[in-house]
């Protein structure tokens, strides 16, 4: 169910379902995979994800996430995974270099966030990551997806607009954007 937020009238097209593979602009082979199996806090993927966030540039934080320091990163991720949403990870070899998450408000409405490690930004990974995440959501019945973004963060706003998000509310310090998936 949508809340007071304004969603676009038009339904977005079909997004690619993960897994997807591509070569980024720095010639690196990247694979985006849904994190289905062992979607929990004692898997190898979890440890690789913790590693990415512990090394995350604090200047790239948004509205307090990811938190700084390994203990807080683990607490935050464990809490995130307990909510049983949908997650995709961008892999470069053994390393997680990007993470996209859909956290449920209810069965059809989700909050979205994506994070790309600073060494992998500006190489087209964010676009592939968010498209695979939205495809994964579509596959599992997500209808409404929203996010918040600091309004000065133009690269992020441009990325969200490119895949079809529209401004849902601009009254606060941070902007709310939304997309309709089905």
């Amino acid at each position: 169910m949508p809340d007071e937020r304004v969603y676009p009238e038009d339904v977005a097209g079909e997004f690619p379902r993960p897994p997807t593979e591509f070569t980024d602009r720095e010639d690196r082979e990247i694979e985006v995979r849904a994190w289905r199996e062992h979607h929990d806090a004692d898997s190898e993927a979890f440890e690789a994800l913790v590693e990415m966030y512990v090394d995350f540039d604090p200047a790239d934080r948004a509205q307090g996430v990811p938190p700084v320091g390994e203990t807080r990163v683990r607490d935050w991720l464990e809490n995130l995974l307990e909510q049983d949403g949908f997650d995709v990870l961008a892999w470069h070899g053994e390393d997680v270099v990007g993470h996209g998450t859909l956290v449920p408000d209810d069965e059809t409405t989700f909050e979205l966030a994506i994070f790309v490690h600073q060494d992998y930004q500006g190489a087209g990974i964010g676009t592939e990551l968010i498209e695979a995440l939205l495809g994964y959501g579509q596959e599992h019945g997500a209808e409404y997806v929203w996010l918040t973004v600091e309004r000065w963060n133009r690269p992020a706003v441009a990325l969200y607009e490119k895949v079809g998000f529209e401004t849902a509310s601009a009254e606060s310090f941070e902007m709310e954007m939304a997309i309709r998936l089905s």
């Binding site: 948004a62 509205q63 996430v65 938190p67 998450t101 956290v103 909050e111 966030a113 918040t148 310090f173």
Partner: protein
């Protein structure tokens, strides 16, 4: 220090209440608690007055607890400026399902419009 705590009734304003009363008791602040009408809150002003009084009693502190009418942000700013407060204290925002902090509308208004220093409690 003369401190005005603004409470609208969201969860973060209860955290701010606890922190501010504890600090006022330790530092000898002259505390006033302004209860405002927050349309985003589930708690009534009467419940907030009761919560404030309970917190004050627990530490044995005397403070002025009042209900402010009208627009919540502007009534807090007006009281703080006209009565020469040193500081306004507010809750530091709520977390979204995925953990992002979002400031409440009252905090945003007060931050932008107040000439008195503002403290947000996390």
């Amino acid at each position: 220090m003369k401190v005005l705590l603004g409470m609208g009734g969201a969860e973060d304003s209860l955290d701010a209440l606890e922190e501010t009363v504890t600090r006022a008791a330790a530092a000898g602040d002259e505390l006033t608690i302004g209860i405002v009408e927050n349309p985003e809150s589930d708690r009534t002003p009467e419940q907030l007055v009761a919560a404030a009084n309970a917190e004050l009693e627990a530490v044995g502190l005397d403070a002025d607890v009042r209900q402010l009418s009208g627009d919540p942000g502007s009534s807090l700013v007006q009281v703080a400026e006209s009565e020469a407060f040193d500081q306004i204290v507010l809750g530091g925002g709520q977390r979204s399902p995925m953990g992002k902090i979002r400031l409440g509308q009252i905090a945003e208004f007060v931050l932008l419009n107040s000439h008195v220093s503002v403290k947000l409690v996390r």
